[in-house]
């Protein structure tokens, strides 16, 4: 556990230092990395620890983005809006979780899949509040480009660190233990006295709060949001792929997965002008086929081998 904290602090410091000295595009990439690390880490709470495959990430992200956008346009201070966006996403997750968390496996996945669609339609049909299909403008920060890019990197980095800290705490806690029991055998866990329903709802809420805040920061960062962008299904799928890539149910797996997937994406995007989507798909399939337990397991295997020798 102590080692986890050390890695977290060193990693965050490294990203911060890299960002401080890099150019603005590099900072943008790091900001995206921190954002997806937050999303992947959050997905891991419900998908990794509890074993409930959720596609609701896009819903929480969009909800956070729109909550913060609408509130900022009412004149509320930006940090307060970000916080309220997280709170709103968590409350929403707990309420909706109460309704769908009794579903298991594929049924749960499908139920979460439609949450984003539902929210997207609600946003579309309330143009007076949210701008509807015309999108929503956010107040632009009148500070220099260089400062702005660093401010948003810092915000996303702090969020990613907090999310990872939550994962470290969760792993050793009673809640984390209960969730792992649920993942292995929910019926048995119930018999042993784990209140599965409460535990799952808590995990679902945890998987929403940081995603909502990430959505809020994202909205302030890009200044303009529209429903197809923030409720994009890819926002739900990519974190899942990242966790699978990095190592499901681990602390640093989601972050490694986010790094690898985004680096691959950027490389492929640069080098194949038109077939990037196909090339990326092939790479992901190969990785999942040959490394079913994620890259993190590879590191573990290596260190185990070395220990034997």
């Amino acid at each position: 556990m102590k080692r986890d904290w050390v890695i977290l602090v060193c990693g965050a410091a490294a990203i911060g230092a890299l960002g401080w000295s890099g150019d603005n595009y590099f900072i943008r990439l790091l900001t995206i990395l921190c954002m997806y690390a937050t999303l992947a880490q959050s997905w891991n709470f419900i998908g990794g620890f509890a074993g409930y495959p959720s596609f609701a990430t896009a819903a929480f992200f969009g909800l956070g983005a729109y909550t913060s956008g609408v509130l900022q346009n009412q004149g509320l201070p930006i940090l307060m809006c970000w916080g309220l966006a997280g709170l709103c996403a968590a409350v929403f997750a707990v309420l909706i979780g109460g309704a769908i968390l009794h579903l298991r496996g594929h049924y749960f996945a499908i139920a979460t899949l439609i949450i984003a669609e539902m929210l997207r339609e609600i946003v579309n049909t309330t143009p007076n509040l949210t701008g509807g299909g015309m999108g929503l403008n956010l107040p632009i920060l009148r500070i220099s480009v260089d400062v702005q890019s660093r401010v948003f990197l810092l915000a996303m980095l702090v969020l990613a660190v907090v999310t990872t800290a939550a994962a470290i705490l969760l792993q050793r806690s009673r809640l984390g233990f209960g969730l792992r029991c649920i993942q292995q055998n929910e019926s048995a866990a119930s018999i042993l006295g784990v209140n599965a329903y409460q535990y799952k709802t808590a995990a679902f809420g945890m998987s929403a709060v940081f995603v909502g805040m990430a959505g809020a920061i994202y909205a302030s960062w890009v200044n303009y949001i529209e429903p197809p962008d923030v409720f994009d299904i890819l926002i739900a799928v990519k974190p899942l792929v990242m966790v699978l890539l990095g190592g499901i149910g681990t602390i640093f797996g989601p972050i490694i997965g986010a790094m690898v997937l985004l680096a691959l994406e950027e490389l492929v995007w640069r080098n194949f002008l038109t077939v990037h989507a196909a090339a990326l798909g092939v790479i992901i399939i190969l990785l999942v086929l040959f490394l079913p337990n994620g890259l993190f397991s590879l590191l573990k295997d290596l260190s185990a081998k070395r220990a034997k020798q």
Binding site: D23, N24, Y25, R28, I32, E121, N124, T125, P127, G132, G133, M134, G135, N137, I140, V145, Q148, V222, N223, Y224, E226, P228, D229, D232, L234, L273, T274, H276, A277
Partner: protein, 402 residues
Amino acid sequence: MSREWTSKLLTRFAIAGAILGSAVVAGQAQETIRVGAPLPMTGPLAPEGAKQKKGYDLWAETANAKGGIKANGKTYKVEIVYFDYASNTPRAVQGAERMITEDKVNFLFAPFGSGASKAASSVSERYGIPTIAATASSAEVYDQGYKFLFGTLTPNETVTEPIANIVTSKNKDVKKVAILARNDLFPLAVAQQMEKSLKAKGMEIVAFERYAIGTMDHSAAVTQMRAARPDWVYATGYVNDLILIRKQMNELGLRPKVITMVAGPAYREFAEATGPLGENISSVAWWHPAVRYKGKDVFGTTEAFNKAWDAKYKGEADYAEASAAAAGAILQLGIEKADSIDPKKVRDALASLDVETFYGKVKFGPSGQITSLEPPVFQLRGGKTVVVWPEAVKQGELEFFK
């Protein structure tokens, strides 16, 4: 064996030499103006992206063939840097930043459509890079007080007022209008503008339906509209939506006196896909090959532009293609006027531009959107477009369904 090896080695040297050589050539030709163009080359907006690319390519080719752009006592070649954002707006924004910071583009063309242009313009505004939007017409795109964004399509009311005037003045029996709009920035904004223009004329709006992006069945909306018995159906969307709506209107027996669709009928694909069903559909476009202007830009007259287009791509350009070519031509006029490639100076030159081009008169309003175009109204007849307004370029009269 060893000979084979030697020849392999030689080939490698040759390739390396060629790469080095080209690098040296690139090094010599330093005087290049690089323009970034994030485009949806893949994904649902790919057809629209291809149109924009054709326009930019023709401009770059024409400008280079005529000796490049002259400014600051130097001659610059034009190079367009493309980036595929896969019809995904956040990618377009990311691409815009990458082009500015890494590819060091001097200027930018905005991505396709109002929404993405608006999103990407926040990046170019932060960096102070003049950006020309060839396919963003909604006033909402330009309402943020940005200084570096310019648009080559006039505000939506310029495409709703003329047709409202013509229809109401020619046929007093047309009183009830049904509107069907795609829930997306431009199509929804233009439909709302149309509603305003029609209400101002005392027309009755009997239905106003919205459909989601990617809708594959309009039968519910069309049936509801049929129940309201409209004289005029006004539908907005992009070409694939409108083809489907026209077909379903026919199947479900919705037969008004006037059908107007924006912005599909201007494209050849629409006439080809609807066939006889396309007959008499009216529409508005920001530009039409039948207009005649004597331009001071790199293309010259409208006839000369049509000829250049036909020579490269065969056939006629539609408004989106012409607007993309015009975006390039206008940027060139701005650079030449500023006599510099300094972004700030070019921005000021663009803002004060007042000149005729093959595309029409070019003058930008205070928000950066062009104010000087007269978008022609036209009607499909026998698979061809017939311009019915403005008077100067008129090819026929507006006809009504019997």
